[in-house]
């Protein structure tokens, strides 16, 4: 079996002392920022990107990936104990997890969340190993028109899955595409929208935009909300779930893993969508739906498995197509590019050790996370008592150092501040920043592929609908748009997101 040979090779690389160390650093940091509300994986990974320049590509990816799936573990701790989502994807865990904690069953809730996540992580790792190679094979045959249509599909899917107004999300994507164009045009060498500012000739750094929109904007929003945190200080006892608990939740874990893995692969998907989907499914199939919201263990097991599975399978489009499905994957692509690796289907063949090493490290990382999150839970609970007025200046310092070190240029920090203000205004106007970030990273790629496709077709725009694969993506995008525009489904979608605001 080729897969096993490949996985074996992957483990061989991932188990080196250096990679184990960076894997540990990644999952530790991930748990840390997962536990702490107010800082998410996007801002953290953006902060660390400049530092990864000094690492080898595999260690860098292993560490950054660890932050993302580690955050899914950590987020559930805060959700269960404090009733605040430490991570946006653990919003639904608050519903039943916190109720379980109030009934004195915080231990089983935490254990089920961690074990469910571990199971989901293992399965998702296997899914990546099985599904990615054939997908990359197909993707190698893609021409510019296929890539363009795929990106259209990805961006549309991202807007459909963003919450709030659909048309605003599309406008944010277009805004991101336009901002992505700033800089030197590769075809003509013309400087576009640089306004004679030399620093803009290379374009605005993606990391800077992400840190402004997700980092500083988030801090400002948190400060406005004020510090209202009531911590569930009672000691966590009786960690191990009872036999009945296991009986109740094993099916939920399976369903959550399956659903999460599927939703993670979709462009625009990932951990957040997966957990919402899983909660809805659990409530639907349960014979006691009235127990949900009152401490049903299935309401913790399903979503927590799903968000971890989703977080991991969202690597598939990034690794095989070179197309980011969410903001974290966009940063991963940024990390590859910093290392001088062009993301795309060729990565798997040209750098098999990178690809399989990363996959193997996910399994190792998940194992470390179980240890970090179950026996050491007390440490994380303590951390929750650190007040925000110590945290936010620290986060600011790390962000400022990270951005400044990109090119030792104060202008970068200025741009970060500008995007922080823009992110704040967008949040106030209910415009989602995530679609904009996707547009921003895809802007230059889309233009390049559009130009090539049109050149090859001699200016005939119907090429996007006459080539079969390309046409399929275009039709899928149209169908998605129509579905969301239909009032009935629109209502359902609003309901799903209303649960989050509650």
């Amino acid at each position: 079996m080729e897969i096993f040979a490949n996985l074996w090779m992957g483990f061989g690389v991932a188990i080196s002392l250096q990679n184990i160390f960076y894997c540990f650093v990644g999952v530790l940091l991930g748990t840390l920022i997962g536990v702490l509300p107010g800082i998410g994986p996007v801002a953290t990974i953006a902060m660390l990107l400049p530092i990864t320049f000094n690492l080898n590509p595999l260690s860098a990816l292993i560490m950054l990936a660890g932050i993302y799936y580690g955050a899914q573990y950590g987020g559930s701790t805060t959700a269960i104990l404090v009733n605040i989502p430490g991570e946006s994807s653990s919003v639904v865990t608050c519903l039943d997890g916190y109720q379980m904690a109030r009934q004195g069953r915080a231990g089983p809730a935490l254990a089920v969340a961690a074990l469910g996540s571990f199971f989901a992580g293992c399965v998702a790792t296997l899914i990546i190993a099985v599904a990615a190679p054939p997908l990359a094979e197909v993707a190698l045959k893609f021409g510019p028109s296929e890539y363009f249509s795929l990106m259209v599909f990805g961006l549309i899917a991202a807007t459909v899955l963003a919450h709030g107004s659909l048309i605003k999300a599309i406008a944010m994507v277009v805004m991101g595409l336009l901002l992505g164009i700033i800089g030197t045009d590769v075809n003509s060498g013309v400087l576009r929208f640089t306004f004679d500012i030399p620093e803009l000739s290379d374009g605005i750094g993606f990391v800077i935009v992400a840190m402004g929109m997700f980092g500083t904007a988030e801090i400002i929003a948190n400060l406005e909300q004020g510090e209202a945190r009531e911590i569930f200080t009672k000691k966590v006892t009786n960690l191990w779930p009872s036999k009945q608990d296991f009986k109740d939740c094993w099916a939920s874990v399976l369903r959550g893993t399956a659903l999460g893995s599927m939703l993670g692969i979709l462009p625009g998907g990932g951990a957040l969508l997966a957990s919402f989907g899983a909660y809805t499914v659990e409530k639907k199939v349960s014979s006691h739906p009235e127990r949900f919201g009152k401490g049903a263990i299935q309401g913790v097991a399903g979503p927590e498995s799903a968000n971890n599975a989703g977080a991991q399978t969202s690597f598939i489009p990034m690794l095989t197509l070179g197309i980011p499905g969410n903001a974290v994957m966009a940063l991963m692509i940024g990390a590859l590019m910093i290392q001088g690796i062009a993301p795309g289907p060729q990565v798997m063949n040209e750098k098999p050790q990178l690809f399989w090493g990363l996959i193997a490290s996910m399994w190792i990382g998940n194992l470390m996370l179980v240890v970090l999150n179950l026996p050491l839970i007390g440490m994380w609970v303590k951390l929750l008592t650190v007040p925000y007025r110590y945290l936010f200046p620290s986060i600011l310092v790390f962000m400022a150092i990270g951005v400044y070190s990109l090119s030792n240029n104060p202008f970068d920090v200025l741009i970060m501040a500008v995007f922080g203000v823009l992110g704040y205004i967008c949040a106030k106007l209910e415009c989602e920043p995530a679609p904009m970030i996707l547009g921003f990273i895809l802007g230059p790629l889309m233009e390049e592929n559009l130009r090539r496709a049109m050149l090859l077709s001699r200016g005939d725009p119907t090429v996007f609908f006459t080539k079969p694969i390309s046409a399929a993506f275009m039709i899928a995008s149209l169908i998605l748009l129509v579905i969301v525009a239909l009032p009935a489904i629109r209502k359902k979608r609003d309901e799903a997101f209303a649960a989050e605001d509650a």
Partner: protein
């Protein structure tokens, strides 16, 4: 006409204005080319046009329907934004004609905006002071070294929070300073100056 959904109204306005700006600027400054051989203006003009159309639709919606997203609470208004932009533009011209280094001019303009905010728009304190702290960090790194830049960011940023206690913030500053020095300068050997330029 009455604005029924202010959030949609202002975002629509923002999208329309940015879309038109990008499209018009591209047409005016760059070559359009043809569909076969696209010039540098082609893609931005298309996108700018699309953004403007989307913006107009959102604007129209905001006048026709009540949004279900609640009231808009911004701690500043559009005139404040205009004033802030005017201050930076004026500062830019000052730098050009008076021959002052643009770094100091940006720092000065940012300081003026901070003072104005604290006096006239206390609700926007968090937003402005946090952003200003970052700007100060960047522009003070060369003249002030890591010691000066971190001080500016920690103290200005902390002022943007709810509570400000000199003792607490100073301890935090010393810890963050030592941590930055150990991890970033010693550990990762980033080429930052430690002390202000006039001492070292």
């Amino acid at each position: 006409m009455k604005i029924k959904s202010p959030k949609d109204f202002w975002s629509g306005l923002m999208f329309t204005a940015s879309g038109l700006f990008f499209a018009i600027y591209a047409v005016a400054h760059y070559q359009m080319g043809t569909a076969v051989r696209m010039g540098p203006a082609y893609f931005p003009t298309m996108l700018g046009g699309l953004l403007a159309v989307l913006g107009v639709v959102i604007l129209a919606q905001s006048l026709a329907f009540v949004g279900d997203e609640g009231k808009l609470h911004l701690p500043f208004n559009i005139i404040d934004i205009a004033i802030a932009v005017a201050i930076y533009v004026a500062a830019g011209y000052m730098a050009k004609f008076a021959g002052i280094s643009p770094d100091w001019v940006i720092l000065g303009a940012t300081a003026v905006i901070c003072v104005l905010t604290v006096i006239y728009r206390p609700a926007a304190r968090g937003l402005i002071l946090i952003s200003a702290g970052c700007v100060a960090y960047g522009y003070l790194m060369k003249p002030g070294g890591l010691v000066g830049a971190t001080a500016a960011l920690v103290y200005i940023g902390a002022l943007g929070g709810h509570e400000f206690k000199w003792k607490e913030v100073t301890i935090l500053y010393v810890i963050l300073m030592l941590f930055s020095w150990l991890v970033f300068v010693k550990g990762l050997s980033l080429p930052f100056p430690i002390w202000p330029a006039y001492f070292g």
